[in-house]
Symmetry: C2
Subunit: 525 residues, 2 copies
């Protein structure tokens, strides 16, 4: 380890990182010993979370001081650090400065060596369920703050009702071969289907000034769009294929339950939903987080984890968590779909690849090609609007500096922009924008940091993702002892939970009879 | 100890009760040793709470099975035990059977030897803030589930706004001597004051069938009624005097804060409210609960208590907590007001004693006379309607039997009605109503149990009150480390908290210049 390593991590954190990210054989060995594996799992998860102070948060984006309302009104976002009055030099970032920091110059995209295109597809589909900002006021949070699979079920009862069918099933549409897809949003006359009028579907890009873009979708494309719990679920085929397999899995489990019980539709539906939420959390911990984390011990989902921990507090999504998850630089400028290489911008709001190529094929194909990397200067120009919105959110909520957040996480403040990144173009862009490391804003700083060897994300992002992700996923009441069990999931639901450790398990059992048995992985082969 | 004692308590619980309710000198000694007192405090509070399973509750009154909604929709009540299909023989209790169990025969009221009339006054005012049932559907809960002093501030923002004045103050009215009272609800023309139209005031009795009673209040009485955060806060002078001193204390602290800060009205108001909520919790633990509990160690409020405990979970008021707090038998049939003995029924919806005799005098007078006792056959006939509603709530939510709840609390099931109560009239009433101890319903059973020497409440009620009271009061975010401190309360608020250990402290500093310095106590002299 060079001097730079210790300067950036401090001694204590530096040692912990070194120990947990090396010696695979040792950690895999621990993973196999009953009881010991549970202790190690808890220790690693707890120490990840305790790098920051735990909820309840003293402040939210609602006011600059603590009030009864600011402690309770979850229509605003929680925040990890007090706002800095001086840290919003101009509240509205100018487009040129954002472009200078984020825009991927033509032909320069950096591709990942470890992560497949399925990684950003899953990440976006997963976090869009609970990270939601009011476009008209970035201090306001429109999330339920829970991992509740609103992707499938919507946020409000009226949405759930619109998406449900009889016998506890979710509505679907079928292609010529009878394979299930989400139901269509438009009816055959080209009108929004009566039963989906209450769904808050977004079918076009929205820029940061709230106005819809002037481009509207051609009618032929509109008629392929799905009615989904996720308002932006049609944005590209990568999200739509996730919803499709999860809807199929819901219906598969609901049919299994119906075979064994005389329950009414509501009870079948609710029991299936309980099961589906746990399946998602299990995949998130055991497949997705294990892909992200550089820790060599394979973490796992356990009922009752965190029961006696002070991080086990009511969920409240933070503005920082929301921002650090804006991984647009993971998305390549061109992707391979159905064997053809196509520019991403051409694929927006088009779900036709699903019915054309089939879900199994698309999962396999997305698992075989790389995504790009988390970085400055690596966002496709078509998504610069969104980066601008993110910069605006950070400034409107007066987030403290990147270095202030490092300190909050127990990491030493960086001393120079050169310590932040070893890449000369990024150094130049940051220097011309900020001049000084202490002036670097939280949002671009997160993306600028050099990724450690063996890691997927830069260090501060890794640290902060872990705090909120673990402490908001593992508080799910369905994991609490006294709730986690066959009374809540049914024996059929319990079996589905036992039989699932990865996204691949769910995809494979819901694509039987398709053209191939897909390899499904967030990692490249 | 007789064999009956061990039969009713079991060995383990019996020993704990014996140890903690004897040896005052020992416990008082521990209370004085720094650090040790904190450990003892935590141990006693934790072991009180852990007699039942902790939140999140697997079931609510919403459905008979666990669903995502039933785990989140706090418009229904939590429940500690699954409903028993067989335990609602007739859902609507007939009035005669309720009267047979609860009605106080003329001239037979049992008076307390230890508790003053102030005890039920404070208890009712305190719990009416967070125990609220939808009269049209007893499964529904209209509480905020938090100790948020909605008694002063209302539940919704529109109510708070209606009750606020400028400079962070609450609105008041003044009598001839300039003393502050809550503002009047009616204007001088006899109409509801325009600014209070949004307050959900209840100004007449409501019976269990939702219909208002036919009696309406005379205009002269109506014009003395206050605009309050508590819908039924005008029901008698005992509640109105509580609101009065707490409004005075709010305004006193707000004026203190304004002297030392240049804050706007909102910030003064919110900082005062933060302080007031903590003052209430401090009084509840150190004055009220210490009066109720037979434990000889004086419990105290500590910031950060419960931080690493599994009972520290989001509040959710349970239907059982709501029912066990219906202490109507504590209210005597006649009370002394302004020196005169008057029947209680004559004093309903009349707040005139406040302005007539002054708050100091009424607190002193209520502290000097006894209340009656928690018991069957000891409810004033004017309140039988409410007992009937409570029985209906219990049946509509299919609460399990009294013995099932004893078991849930780790107490042995009682073997006979004779074990439940030593009083012959109550034994006769229970036997004729139920025949068998296992058929005794939860609600009357709670009130029937013999009170142990030195206790205020019967044993199962004491046990269950402690579980919900501690675990829902001490989760208040204002007590969390990182929030509890001068940033949240201001130095003036911190001083008020330090200077308050009892209701008497608050009453005395807000009744200066009145006819006497009151003795204020939940206990008789």
């Amino acid at each position: 380890m060079t001097g730079g390593y210790w300067r950036k991590n401090g001694v204590k954190r530096g040692i912990r990182v070194l120990l947990t990210t090396h010696g695979s054989w040792f950690w895999l060995c621990l993973r196999r010993i009953p009881k010991v594996n549970s202790r190690v799992n808890r220790f690693l998860i707890n120490s990840s979370i305790y790098t920051m102070e735990t909820r309840p948060p003293a402040l939210s984006t609602k006011s600059t001081y603590t009030s009864w309302d600011s402690l309770h009104d979850r229509e605003f976002s929680a925040r990890h650090l007090r706002g800095e009055d001086d840290f919003a030099p101009d509240t509205k970032p100018d487009k040129a400065s954002v472009a200078a920091l984020f825009e991927r110059p033509p032909g320069t995209q950096t591709l990942s060596e470890g992560s497949s295109l399925l990684f950003p597809f899953f990440a976006q589909w997963f976090v869009d369920g609970f990270l939601r900002t009011d476009p008209s006021d970035p201090r306001r949070n429109t999330s339920t703050h829970d991992i509740d699979l609103s992707q499938l079920y919507g946020q409000r009862k009226v949405e759930t009702q619109a998406l449900r069918a009889e016998f506890g099933l979710l509505k679907t549409s079928a292609d010529a071969e009878g394979r299930e897809f989400p139901p269509l949003y438009y009816d055959s006359d080209g009108n929004v289907s009566e039963s989906f009028k209450d769904l808050p579907m977004v079918l076009e890009s929205v820029d940061d000034s709230k106005a819809r873009t002037t481009t509207t979708l051609p009618d032929a494309v509109k008629r392929t769009l799905f009615a989904l719990g996720l308002p932006r679920g049609n944005i590209h085929y990568g999200l739509a294929m996730m919803s499709t397999v999860f809807i199929r899995e819901h219906n598969r489990i609901a049919r299994e339950i119906r075979k064994h019980h005389t329950w009414d539709s509501d009870r079948i539906f609710e029991t299936t939903r309980n099961t589906m939420i746990v399946l998602l959390i299990k995949i998130v911990i055991e497949d997705y987080i294990n892909h992200i984390t550089p820790i060599k011990f394979p973490l796992f989902m356990e009922s009752g984890i965190g029961l006696e921990e002070r991080w086990y507090r009511q969920n409240w999504m933070s503005v920082e968590f929301n921002l650090l998850y804006r991984w647009h630089s993971l998305v390549p400028s061109t992707v391979k779909v159905g064997g053809q290489t196509r520019p991403l911008s051409e694929l927006m709001w088009d779900t036709s690849p699903l019915t054309e190529h089939g879900v199994a094929f698309l999962f396999d194909e997305a698992s075989a090609q790389p995504c790009s990397t988390i970085d400055l200067l690596n966002t496709d120009p078509s998504m610069l609007d969104i980066e601008q919105t993110s910069m605006y959110v950070a400034r409107r909520t007066q987030l403290a500096s990147f270095n202030a957040y490092r300190e909050r996480c127990g990491l030493p403040r960086l001393r120079s922009i050169d310590d932040l990144t070893s890449k000369q173009p990024a150094r130049d862009a940051l220097t011309s924008c900020y001049g000084d490391i202490d002036k670097v804003e939280f949002f671009p700083g997160l993306f600028a940091e050099d990724v450690r060897a063996g890691s997927t994300l830069p260090p501060l992002m890794t640290t902060m993702v872990a705090v909120d992700a673990f402490s908001q996923a593992l508080t799910n009441p369905l994991l609490a002892p006294g709730i986690y069990g066959p009374d809540t999931f049914s024996p059929q639901g319990m079996q589905a939970i036992r039989e699932t450790a990865s996204l691949e398990d769910i995809v494979r059992r819901n694509t039987r009879g398709e053209s191939l048995i897909p390899r499904v992985s967030l990692a490249l082969p």
